[in-house]
Amino acid sequence: MIELRALTKRYGTTVAVDDLSCTVEPGRVTGFLGPNGAGKSTTMRMILGLDRPTSGSALVRGRPYAQLKAPMREVGALLDARAVHQGRTARQHLRCLADSNGLPKRRVDEVLEIVGMSSAADQRAGRLSLGMSQRLGIAAALLGDPGVLLLDEPVNGLDTEGIRWIRQLMRRLAREGRTVLVSSHLMSEMALTAGHVIVIGRGRLIADTGIEEFVRLHAQRRVLVRTELAEKLAGLLTGCGAAVYHSTEGALIVSDLDSAAIFSLAAAHDVVLSELSPQRTSLEEAYVALTRDSLEFHTANEPDVEASR
């Protein structure tokens, strides 16, 4: 379990992480989402004790990371797959790390097997492809068979086969009861693996919710309407507070008003509809809209735009 309590990191006047509080529970993959520069990596570095919080705290299994008795047996981390001395082979790199926590040498061979890079084990890290470096980073995270895993953008540089493999691996690790926190800037990626998402924008918490609720809450419902009297209906809808866009094919795209309300409004004003169909926005669109809102919210600095809708 990972607990963030009012975690804040300031670099000069820039606030990278702003009063972030949340809990990452075991037994499921938690997606850690946000646009590039939202503060995901800084948060992960603070959890791992690499960066010192300006205020607040990050606890792993109830303690600050630096106070863990057997760090690698408790937490495995993939921060940057290139964080390896290029002069060492994959096997030597893992052996250096295994020694630091008193892990047996055979565990090095085991994790090399698990990540499928036994054949590249004796190549120098500098010669490994990005995909292989990524696998080496994951092997390092798995060395101590930890109950908590932090993976920063683990699909970066992996090929299709590698991506499918890492998704299965993350789901399996979560099924085994481990805490798995995976950062990504792609909602679509998380939709396939995560059971829970924590979304941040500009270092602030935007959402901390199950993936299903996330869709239900944030995916905007839009309705496509066709009628001969498009101009008249558009005026009526706008009058009721709905947002109306004209599509290229002459239809209206209406948001912020559901199909039933549109139907009764049209009927009351004798507007005959030829089509009325609800449209589902994708998860990715919902996520983009959500994080964009948060950015506007902060730049405009006006209170609670969400609530006034």
Partner: protein
């Protein structure tokens, strides 16, 4: 849900110890080719330059005034020759074992594995010190044992390990190399960039001592590097510090430097 919580709260296994951190640093040291080459360079340069310096100084000896001839210190000639460039290689090695981790990003992997920064720094210093102690002794004993025959071959005065003060000077010279290496380690932790730390180490060990002749005598006497080099002299120098007093000045300075490096390492984001 029961087995879910069981894996999450399962005991983590035996705690990691400082000894584990030292073992890991030992593995890091052993598994880099560049480290082995630098150590080889230390020894080869010590031997080679000791012979060259001794032969050169021995040749000049005959042309010297009787007063200068009386002050001729064969032990110091061989050791100074052996140490002059070797100290650079040792300092650079000290720098590299730290800055190569910053340059590659390995430092983050290391700190995730060993989050107690005092342990990581302590383990690095310890492993480096043990290796530098052994290599430093090989360098100065070799420099002396090869330098003396070079002096005798040009009919200059020479001496042996059984002469008074000689073993101390040879052992002390090796310790001097160890301390310069530790200066490199401290600079590495403080400056973090390879180029910056190497430049600083070279400036402190080689460039500043060249400028000391233009400074007040009290400064040049206590400048830690020149003070430390006094340990390699067998003949007493009326104006200088005693051999072991000189080396202690250097040792104390290095301890302070390592302390500052540790404070910075502890405080900074990695």
């Amino acid at each position: 849900m029961t087995d879910v919580t069981s894996r999450a709260s399962a005991p983590a296994g035996p705690p990691a110890t400082f000894v584990d951190a030292v073992r890991s640093e030992g593995t890091k040291f052993r598994t880099l080719r560049s480290v082995r080459y630098t150590l080889l360079a230390v020894v080869v340069m010590a031997f080679g330059f000791a012979v060259l310096f001794s032969a050169g100084a021995g040749n000049m000896w005959t042309k010297r005034s009787p007063a200068d001839q009386a002050g001729f210190d064969p032990t110091n000639v061989s050791l100074q020759g052996g140490v002059l460039l070797t100290q650079l290689a040792m300092g650079v090695l000290g720098v590299l074992i730290v800055t190569s981790e910053y340059a590659t990003g390995m430092i983050r992997s290391s700190l995730v594995a060993v989050p107690r920064r005092g342990w990581l720094l302590g383990a690095k210093v310890l492993v480096f010190a043990v290796v530098a102690l052994v290599v430093g002794q090989i360098a100065t004993f070799g420099a002396f044992l090869l330098g003396q025959p070079a002096l005798s071959s040009v009919h200059a005065p020479h001496t042996g390990l059984d002469a008074a003060g000689v073993p101390g000077a040879v052992v002390g010279g090796g310790l001097f190399l160890l301390l310069v290496g530790l200066l490199g380690v401290a600079c590495g932790f403080l400056i973090r960039s390879t180029a910056g730390a190497i430049t600083t180490t070279i400036a402190v060990t080689l460039v500043f001592p060249l400028m000391l002749g233009y400074l007040p005598e009290a400064i040049s006497r206590y400048y830690p590097i020149t003070a430390g080099q006094r340990v390699m002299a067998v003949m007493p120098d009326a104006s200088g510090l005693g051999p072991w007093t000189g080396l202690s000045v250097l040792a104390a300075t290095i301890v302070v430097f390592l302390g500052i490096a540790f404070a910075a390492f502890q405080r900074r984001d990695a």
